[in-house]
Structures are given as C-alpha cells and as structure tokens.
Symmetry: C2
Amino acid sequence: MSKPKGFEKPTGFRDYTPHVVSKLRTIERNVLECMERWGYRQIITPTIEYYDTVGVASSTSDRKLFKLLNSRGTTLVLRSDLTAPIARVVSSMLKDEQLPLRLSYHANVFRSIEEEAGREAEFFQTGVELVGDDSPEADAEVVALAIASLQAAGVSSFKIAMGHMGFLNGLLEEVIPGQTTEQEQLKEGLLGRDYVGYRQSIEALNLEPKLKEQLEAILRLRGGKEVCTHAVELSSSDEAARSIAHLCAVFEVLEAYGVSEHVLIDLTMIGDFSYYTGMTFEGYAAELGSPVCSGGRYDNLLQQFGRSLPATGFALKTNRIIDGVHGIVIEEKKPVLIQYSPKRRAEALTEAARLRSMGQNVVTLLLPEDRAGASAVSAGATTDQAEQVITYGSEEGGGR
Amino acid sequence: MSKPKGFEKPTGFRDYTPHVVSKLRTIERNVLECMERWGYRQIITPTIEYYDTVGVASSTSDRKLFKLLNSRGTTLVLRSDLTAPIARVVSSMLKDEQLPLRLSYHANVFRSIEEEAGREAEFFQTGVELVGDDSPEADAEVVALAIASLQAAGVSSFKIAMGHMGFLNGLLEEVIPGQTTEQEQLKEGLLGRDYVGYRQSIEALNLEPKLKEQLEAILRLRGGKEVCTHAVELSSSDEAARSIAHLCAVFEVLEAYGVSEHVLIDLTMIGDFSYYTGMTFEGYAAELGSPVCSGGRYDNLLQQFGRSLPATGFALKTNRIIDGVHGIVIEEKKPVLIQYSPKRRAEALTEAARLRSMGQNVVTLLLPEDRAGASAVSAGATTDQAEQVITYGSEEGGGR
C-alpha cells in the first residue's frame, strides 16, 4: 500500500478539462432540452443510497458497488445507475402524482473497477423513465426519444437493436423446460455476443435435432420487421408469442414516428440489466463497437419499493459519446483582453461590464508595468490567449 | 442497526423534485454563464479523491469527511469542496497552461453530518478559482464576480463582508506574541461571532489596559472604507499594515467596478477555511442569517500539490440560494397533449414532432378507449396536466 503522490487521483477517476466540459455540457443541455420537449421533467437524487434498498435493487453486481458505512454502521452505496433511485422516488415523494410519470436525469454513476485498466469508475448517464404505462406506445416512445436524444447529442449515424426478454424466456422454457442453469448459460453467451460459446452450450445439451435447430435459429433472428414473422414460426410458447406481438406493435408505432429506419429487431439481444422484463434495446454509433445507449422495460422493479407499476426507460452512455463520437465540435470562444493603467481602471472596467452584458467574454488585466513587485502574470501570455486586446494606457485616449 | 425501509434514503441526503430542479438548473446556468463572461472556464473533477492528498489538503475537519477504502486498502474521500481538487488539477493536468488560470465549477460536495437534524450531507457549490495572480486586482475581481454571480442567481439584496487574515494575525502576534493557543482561542470567538466569549478570552489574558483595549477595538473594525484608517492606527505590526494596505487597494478596485456599495469591511471576519492566507469574504442575503457565498485568498495551498502559486476564489452556497432566497421564480411550462386513435397515429406523431421542433413541450397518448386491457393511464389525469389538448379521433378530420 503505497502512499499516493500529491497530484494523483484514484484509478478510474477523471478530470475533465474546459474543452471537454464544453462538449459534455453542450450534449447535456441539448439532450435534456430534447427530453423536456417530450414532456420529461428532470429530477436529481442523492449520490449515496442505502445498500439494502437501492443497492440491492440496482442491477449492478455486488462486487462492482462502491460501499461505505455511515456512523451507525449501516452500509451505503454510491449509486450505480438512476433507475433504482428513481423507482424509490416514484414510490415515495412522487407517489401522489398523476400517471404516467415522465422523468429525466443527467447524473454521474459509479462502478468499482478493481483497477482494471482503461475502465471508468465514475461516468455520466443522461436518461429518462416513463412510469405507469405498459402499452407498446410507451416502449415506442422511449425508443423514439432515444433516437431523438442521440441526434440531439450530435450522433448522426447509429442503429438501435431492439429485442424482448419474454421471447427468449418463452422459447428456452419451451425447449429446455425447468433447466434454469442451462438457460442462464445460453443467455450469457448471447449477452456476451459469444456465438461460438452459445453453439457449444447447445451441443452440450444433447438435444434432438429439431430442438437443437430451434435454439440455433435464434441467432438468425436479426433484421427488419420480417424477423417478427420468423420468430412467431419458431416457437409455440404463449409467452414468446405475446412478446413478439408486443414487439411488433412497438415497431409499428416507430414506423408512425418515422424513425424505423434506425431500428433493427435483434432477438439475440439481452439487456445487461437484470431487472428488464420486456422490450430491451441498445444503440450503436457508427464509430464505436460498444453501445452508446441502452434501455428497456422493467415492470417488476417498482414493487421492490412498495409501489407496483410498469415502467420503461433508457440512458445515454454520455461519456462514450463525448469520447468516441465526432458529433459536436466545440469552438472555444476566446475572450477580449482589456488591459489598463491604474488611472484608467474605472473606464476600463466599465467597458468590460458593457461588453459582458452584450454576451462577450472579457478578461481584464492591470498593465504589468504598473504592478508592484514580481508577479506570476505575464502580459505576453495573456494577450496570446485573447481574441482582441483593448488597452487603456497611462495616456488619456491612447491605446484603443 | 435497523434495516432501512424500501423507500428510505440516508439522513442528510435529498431528492430534488422537478420544480426545484428547474430552479437549481436556472441558477446553475445563469451563474456559469456569468462566470464565462468573465473569462472563467469550467472544469469537472472526480467525486472521489485520495484521503492523503486532497482529503488532507481540504479544510474540512477529519470527522466530517466521508471516507471509504478502495480494493487496495487505500483511504478515499468524497470531495468536501472543489478548491483542493482544482489545486491538484492545476498542479498536474493544467501545469503547462498560461497564467493566470481562471476556472469555474458547479459541483456537489459532501460533509458527514453525524445525523444532525436539518443539515445536508450533500449539497451544491458554484464557484471560481483565479490562480497565478497575487495582486489586489485579482482579489477585487473575485469579489466583483461574486457580486455579479449572486445577481445572476437572482439574489437582489445582499452585502459582502470583507476581511483579511493577515491583519488579525499581525495584530495578535503584536499584542500576545508567541501565545499560539490564546491566539487560536480569540480567533475561534471571532469565527463563531461569539463576541461575549471573545471578551472573556481577553479578560483571561490579564493584559495591561492598552493591550486589552487593542484587542477589544478589533470588534469595532466593521464598516466602510474608513475602517482601514482606524485599523492602521490600531497596530504597528508590519504584517497588519501590509494586509490593510492590500485590503484598501482591493476596496479601491471595487469602487472602480462600481460595486463598493455592496461591500463592508469587517476585520472581525475570519473565513472558515483553514487554508485562507489573505483577504477573505462572505456574502449575506437579506433573507438569510448564514452566508450565501464565501471566498478568499489561499497562497499556500497549491504548494501542497507541488506547484507554488498564489490563488484566490469563492463559492456560492447554491442550496441556500435555492431554498432560502426568493429570487428566481420558475413558471412550469405545461405540455400540449396530443391524443390519437391507432388509425391516425402517424398524423398525430408528425404534428407532435412539428410542435417540438418549434420549442413546444408535447406529450402524446393513445386514446384510452383504444387501449387493450386495463391500463394505469387515465385520460382525465393526463388532460388535467396539459395546457392544451389536441385529439386525433377515430373519425378523419374530427377532434381538432
């Protein structure tokens, strides 16, 4: 255990310099404004929650939660997502509000990374939750809003892959009923997009050819709306059929939104949150292999907080967008420099105030030759950073 | 140790409902934009820092720091202010940037409150640091910017009390040289504004009348610019004289800014941050007894991170402003409700997109009579929340 050096910060944590903050803030503002246009209102929840409530309800594995103890010895966690905290708020502070509830957020979340190289332990998510509506319209609304949000964030080229937990659950239960461990193993192969591993797991089951083919056929269920037809043919499970009917209805609403060109149906896709119960989706930008947004329906989470309500939502992975997508280009606005002699200080500062009130960025500087003693401030350095230099020198009227 | 209920959150932590978030976001945006006009660029630092570096350098007492351990057993802290983290960044990532550096932030900070009633364990600060300039101009700039920031935050009636650590240190060292414990005791009386306690501490020193009077006279050093003259007469210490000359120069620059009407000189004032070395100030709003902003000069902090540079800055206590000051009034913008039958969905959603692109907030709803099964969504409830209702009913052309 070596002592950290003075200027070090913990592994996985990050400083954002002004240029990156400008980009992050622009995305944050554009996306939150977009969500507001769709009727979503922002909430803010605490950074710290109880482990026994929000910590357990979150889908983050226990070893990835940041834990601490309060003075009473109760275990607390740093939030690992916003869905569980918002479920808590909906079940308490907002319990008398009319349904459906449309809520948005932009927040930092935490995952303990155990010193894995290159992973972030703290990062930003910008998202929504739509609570109290179980219809395909509601699922389509969050997918359409995810598309609008990605566009607002400057992501121009992307695809949304949309699946359904119920289809896979129904089909697996039909083919290998009750074999929970084997079902989980197959799902993990799909979750990790490890199709070789998935096929090996099928082989290991020693199924009769028809059943084996049923499981292998899942891998082909990726594409346009026609996937729904193929999926229906593949399974005679009620749950699978209901799920596909719902997904097909969601797709039709997305056609009405005029955004279905961005959407693929992908029944091999499993959302990586354990609380998903229905439709799930992920967004992929052209520049990046890992998703820039993810979402889905979670109809059983709120009852853990004492209020049984259906809900659906998504979050943008905002850090991946600022780092990996060449969407929003920030032009740094250089300030005007106003430098002055002590005599003309009031005149110079009045001009600075006038320019600022017009929206100009202005920095002011007492002329170095008028400064007492040695100063760290170099006039040359400061003028280099300025777009324009206005000088109120020692002679009246001079310098401008 | 009782198990928390499902909907509970830890003591001292807070949920912000949409109405309060609107107010907080408006203040945040207005103040950060104001700071940008003055040439300050935003940075973001991690929520978590090393205890041995930023934790120790912060002015928060050890028992008020939130601590946790990483997987290597190193102690981490949740940041308790932004001044120490920014000093770390200035000494590392920004070490090659030209001086002076003007940096701004809006961030949440943490103080362990040991279950004290009514105190917040997590709250927001919005502030700046001006690094690399030790002149009175720099101190005046941050005071003038604090005034502009309070105005941008909607605080209309306030006073800034401005003091100087060096004056008090010089005077105390002159009157009771080397008596560190006694000096600290007197300072604590002033810090807590406990003037009775301060006088008792003086009595306990058994000083000759002239020295006793010198210490008592400090309590009268509150008022306008004339306080500087009285202060100079009170002490023959070099440090006190230098400090008063600096403070007087700061006041003169504030006169040139045209904001000295907001400023009182108060030499009884001690900033509550242990790292302050020079001018300190606090802002008081008419509505509140406790300060809404505080700041000051800290010329010795950066050397703890390996870079010796003078610095000055301030932070707004943003939560006190949202809760205690009746400045910014947020009018909730009710959305337009567009409800539709399945047949006319595309038409309705196209109209929703058009209105949103014009800046209107719009929520959409499939007409309840067209919904399958029991739904939690009540049409009546939704129409109550809308400013206007547009219906695309089952008959073509009807409803609008």
